[in-house]
């Protein structure tokens, strides 16, 4: 503050995501506001955050697990399915809300200068708040069938959660900024969201993909969400398997040693790229909205 007092500064020049740390009180209020108004006027309120993913889970479980019989080849298929669904839901919800966040907050952005990165960042936090109850359901289910994770597996799950947040923030900054200029952006994101669940091994197992893609399997594995889902399976699903249920290829080779670092790198790179694009485009947000 004292530094600002004695020099002239150019207004409206933020330091991007770094500013959010200084404005964390405002971030907290924005997140709280979103959570409060999300389910306003509804009887079930936050319960909808449980009901919707459970419904989604049931549909997949009945259609794929029972009708298409995926349950046969994959022991504890319910856990396998649900651990992937909650993670992908966190990502898709973050991304699609972050993309809309700038346009949705146009009234504020046009009138008052704030670090604009706050809005996409806040939506990711809101999604995290919805992810948490789902995670609790997942953990409860895991414990029921006998879950014995190692410390390493728990740490990996936390790391993957952080990685998904980084990836969603990065892509959210990109698509959110472009959305100001071209509203096509949110439709593209809707499409990405649709594809994401199927483009990673949430509903099926990775060996099915490898059988089809053969030497090109690495292309599939390059998707950070694929790695994230597989590590989540390793942390939540694998430790629930009994000795007699062991499946030989629960994880693709080199998942932790090679693909995890690669995915982390890709996610961080996307965050940087997103921030760069966002800064370039945010200069004219107020007049384009």
């Amino acid at each position: 503050m004292a530094r600002q007092m004695d020099q002239l500064i150019k207004p409206g020049m933020g330091r991007g995501l770094l500013d959010i740390y200084g404005d964390r009180f405002l971030l907290k209020l924005l997140v709280r506001k979103e959570i409060k108004i999300r389910y306003r006027g509804s009887v079930l309120g936050l319960m909808w955050s449980y009901v919707k993913p459970l419904m989604q889970f049931l549909i997949y479980f009945i259609a794929l697990g029972i009708f298409l019989n995926l349950e046969r080849g994959t022991p504890n298929y319910a856990i396998y399915l649900f651990s992937g669904i909650v993670l992908v839901n966190f990502f898709t919800e973050s991304l699609s809300n972050a993309t809309r966040s700038i346009v949705d907050n146009r009234d504020l952005i046009r009138k008052i200068y704030l670090p604009r990165e706050l809005f996409p960042a806040a939506t990711v936090w809101v999604s995290a708040a919805h992810f948490l109850p789902q995670l609790l359901v997942l953990i409860a289910a895991c414990l029921v069938v006998g879950w014995t994770p190692s410390i390493l597996q728990l740490l990996a799950a936390i790391l993957i959660f952080a990685m998904m947040a980084v990836l969603a923030t990065g892509l959210g900054l990109m698509f959110g900024a472009v959305n100001v200029y071209f509203r096509d952006s949110e439709n593209i994101v809707d499409m990405i969201v649709m594809v994401v669940t199927w483009a990673s091994p949430v509903l099926y197992v990775w060996t099915m993909v490898e059988r089809v893609m053969g030497p090109w399997y690495w292309v599939y594995q390059l998707n950070p969400i694929t790695t994230a889902v597989e590590v989540f399976h390793w942390a939540f699903w694998e430790p629930t398997l009994k000795a007699d249920q062991m499946v030989s290829d629960t994880m693709p080779p080199d998942l932790l040693g090679f693909w995890l670092p690669v995915s982390l790198l890709i996610s961080v790179a996307i965050l940087f790229l997103g921030q760069l694009m966002f800064r370039r485009l945010s200069v004219h947000f107020a007049q384009e909205l």
Partner: protein, 250 residues
Amino acid sequence: MTSHGHVAISCIGVRKQFVLRHTRSLKEALVWLIKGRKGDLSKRFMALTDVSLEVKQGETVALLGLNGSGKSTLLKLISGVLQPDGGTVRTRGRVAGLIEVGAGFHHDLSGRDNVYLNGAILGMTEQQIDEMFDSIVEFSEIGEFIDTEVKFYSSGMYLRLAFSIAVHTDPEVFLIDEILAVGDEPFQRKCIAKIKELSAHGKTLFVVSHDLDLVSTVCERGVLLEHGEVIMDGEVHDVVAELRSRTAAA
């Protein structure tokens, strides 16, 4: 401590151009690119051509001009919402705007939640809001309705609360855009008294208003804008007289 004499706002050769884009779809933009960028997708409009202006700490400046002369654009450049296309805008200390009060209000939140949210948006810390809270509610005359959702407020209550938050943010530089028309007569008087009090405390005021009599009582200095250019800068009464004679002639 504010020393009269330091520059609070400095604009040097500021230029701002608006692009009126006709299209909002990727398809049209692509077609335009493929056709070799023929024709113009957009129309340009100069809002500010070459504005240089310096405001010292503690000064009270009225920005005058007819509709479309670029007053609000200049205010937005100073607040940082817009960035200039040419020249530089610089400010010293925290700048807060009473620009369209209540922009940060959310209808489904209570008055209390909105005080915190809006206060934080205007740059207050949690501690500052805690300290100021009672004073904000008292000034707004909202009283017991503070825990009611804002959507049930009358428009007067809404504006009073928003104004009250804004004047309690305590920045060094105040930007005020057409806000003095808030609420009923008694509240308006209270607002003007508050604004005068702020300027007595050495705050820099930068006011945009069409109420010429009012700005001449609040401000010392007047700046007249026309078609994005400063055409007069001097004592507020002289500038008001000049604007009046110009409008009478037109």
